[in-house]
């Protein structure tokens, strides 16, 4: 059984759209050994892209971020969250100026609602438990 003093985890959220609207999310929980096989990048105002994440994080200048695409995962667990109709949206992320602030804030609010629900779900707890168990079993 391996022991990791610096276990790093991250949640990646991928949207599935139906007729333009976000109808479900695939949440992938990934664990990494923070002391090995990790790559970092320094933000330069460009967006950080990851295959498992619809949202692209802006790399704020001079801030340090993990370069997830080039980090070696120890284990992962995924689950799906079905977005209720009332919480669906057809809005998308804007990555170039000028931004429509009200639309981006509305989209952000939707993502926050999604997180608050799936983050408290039993599926999420089960996935976290499975992920940590998988790491402990390595």
């Amino acid at each position: 059984m391996a022991h990791y003093n610096n276990l790093v985890t991250e949640e990646f959220v991928k949207e599935t759209r139906t007729s333009g609207a976000v109808t479900s999310l695939t949440i992938k929980l990934v664990a990494y050994d923070g002391d090995n096989n990790m790559t970092s990048v320094t933000g330069d105002g460009n967006y950080l892209v990851h295959d498992d994440s619809t949202w692209q994080y802006l790399g704020v200048t001079d801030q340090t971020y993990y370069d997830w695409e080039n980090c070696t995962a120890l284990a992962s667990q995924s689950f799906t969250y079905t977005v209720p109709e009332a919480d669906q949206t057809s809005l998308t992320q804007s990555t170039s100026h000028p931004h429509n602030t009200s639309e981006q804030l509305e989209y952000q609010a939707k993502r926050k609602v999604w997180y608050d629900v799936w983050g408290e779900s039993e599926d999420c707890r089960t996935a976290w438990t499975a992920l940590y168990s998988a790491v402990e079993a390595l």
């Binding site: 003093n5 610096n6 276990l7 790093v8 985890t9 991250e10 949640e11 933000g43 949202w55 994080y57 802006l58 704020v60 801030q63 971020y65 992320q93 804007s94 990555t95 100026h97 931004h99 602030t101 981006q104 804030l105 989209y107 952000q108 993502r111 926050k112 997180y115 983050g119 707890r125 976290w128 438990t129 940590y132």
Partner: protein, 289 residues
């Protein structure tokens, strides 16, 4: 270690019980023995002289094999006293500590120090909301919200005394009585440890908190420390977001399990009930710089 039986006592059993090996004399075993209060007043084949109840390892009473009847070299600590809720599930958290911040560019962190302290004859364990940790930006944010509460042993929500601007009064979570029953002094060479691990969500540990000596076996564990009256050894489970910008947001809501242990050379290590910490950090960008 095991208890020496009250009959058919052998030299091998005595030698093993006091942690020696090879061929030893009873006097060498006596010198290696600890203060131990015999529970029985009679030993088969031997008439006790009445001094056994106050014997120490310096006494010469146990220079006959029969006097070793029932001797136990290692002892148990008394049951700990608890002052907050304990358990291992998310719902068993003893502290909730959260920060939410909104700005064009922002980051949030919430962390709580779990530390040990020697107070008189007790090894005590406390938790303290870290109010010193900075967030980004320090000033000018659109909005910021910070809250903290703890749960007593009945699970009832309690407020910390203090504030995020001036700091909080730490809350004692447990203590272990470490008085030597024979001498009335503090048990010798006491050590304690605190370790923390995330069991749900994405979390981390703060590597440095003002006023505390954090970690040793990595930032998530103190390693074996000698509890002190003023040097406070601890760990700081935390929720820590990315720096967000341009309408991004990052939310971390980890749950940590905190395990405290106390040990001494002639005692069985005691592992206290598990404490669970619930941390929440949310950073929201409401614009592009």
């Amino acid at each position: 270690m095991a208890q020496i039986p009250t009959s058919s006592i052998t030299m091998a059993a005595i030698i093993a019980e006091v942690g020696l090996s090879g061929s030893k004399t009873l006097d060498e075993c006596r010198a290696a023995s600890i203060a131990y209060t015999m529970s029985s007043t009679g030993v088969p084949g031997h008439t006790r002289d009445g001094t056994e109840q106050t014997n120490t390892n310096a006494a010469n009473w146990n220079n006959t094999m029969a006097e070793w009847a029932g001797y136990v070299h290692t002892q148990d600590f008394p049951s700990p006293d608890y002052y907050v809720r304990t358990g291992t599930a998310e719902s068993a958290f003893c502290v909730q500590n959260s920060m939410s911040i909104t700005d064009a560019e922002s980051a949030a962190v919430s962390d709580t120090v779990f530390y040990m302290k020697l107070t008189g004859m007790y090894v005590e364990f406390y938790m303290d909301i870290d109010h010193t940790k900075q967030y980004t930006p320090l000033f000018g944010e659109t909005s910021i919200s910070r809250t903290a509460s703890w749960r007593n042993t009945s699970g009832t929500s309690q407020s910390f005394s203090g504030s995020f601007s001036s700091g909080f009064t730490p809350v004692r979570i447990a203590r272990v009585n470490c008085e030597d029953g024979s001498s009335g002094n503090l048990i010798g060479s006491i050590t304690a440890s605190i370790s923390s691990s995330v069991f749900s969500g994405t979390g981390t540990h703060d590597a440095a908190v003002s006023g505390y000596t954090i970690g040793d076996g990595g930032s998530s564990a103190t390693g074996s420390r000698t509890p002190h009256t003023s040097t406070l050894y601890g760990v700081a489970p935390a929720a820590w977001t990315l720096v967000t910008g341009c309408f991004s947001q990052d939310v971390k809501n980890p749950f940590h399990r905190v395990v405290c242990k106390v040990n001494a050379p002639t005692y069985n290590e005691i592992t206290l009930n598990t404490f669970v910490a619930d941390h929440y950090a949310a950073a929201v960008s409401d614009g592009c710089v």
